[in-house]
Subunit: 93 residues, 2 copies
DNA sequence: TAGCTATTTAGCCAACTAGCTAAATTATAA
DNA sequence: TTATAATTTAGCTAGTTGGCTAAATAGCTA
């Protein structure tokens, strides 16, 4: 839980999640969207992975990351419960 | 936005918000729920206040803090939009 | 095997964070 | 005005974070 919050508190990592929301991507592909170096992004990946927000699988020489949507949804739900917020009020209309 | 995320990423501050969810409280009253010193809590209050998550008003010699529920709800909504999550799926049943 | 690509690990640094104690501030009470 | 209570500010320390470069690892390909 705390790991997930910490992982979400960084803007770079949130953007990574947004990118993966569209489709699975390799580490290098994701890194292409940022100005930081690959080692820097690599560490962000490991933080996200430790929080179980993404999952990487090796495909021969590349690693493809995929978003763990369920964990993201569960975290938001947990937050709403923690603060006693009514989901009905979250509707965006 | 980033300030709000950072403010929410600390467990002590989340617990402060939870306490204020129940009712308004003075700084000292809130501090009574924690093992940390008052100066430490005081700084947490200022972080929460800068993120606009709480608001303090002076009552003679005490300061009463109150939760800004709207900002909390808006932040969660923004997160859900950011990650394209359907509010319907957040229902807790 | 040697070389190339993709990715991570190691090691360093500057900036930030959360905790503490001591001191300053502000208001009330004697 | 002196003392007490509530709270914050200042200044310090230890630990964490995010960035970088250089080196290591793993898988291909010639």
């Amino acid at each position: 839980m705390q790991k997930t919050f910490k992982a979400l508190s960084d803007p770079t990592r949130r953007k990574v999640l947004q990118l993966l929301r569209e489709r699975d991507m390799t580490a290098g592909e994701i890194a292409g969207y940022f100005n930081s170096t690959k080692p820097t992004l690599s560490r962000h990946f490991s933080v996200l992975q430790e929080a179980d927000l993404i999952q990487g699988t090796k495909n021969s020489s590349t690693i493809t990351y995929r978003l763990n949507v369920t964990v993201l949804e569960e975290t938001l739900l947990a937050m709403m419960e923690m603060f006693n917020i009514d989901p009905e009020r979250m509707k965006n209309d």
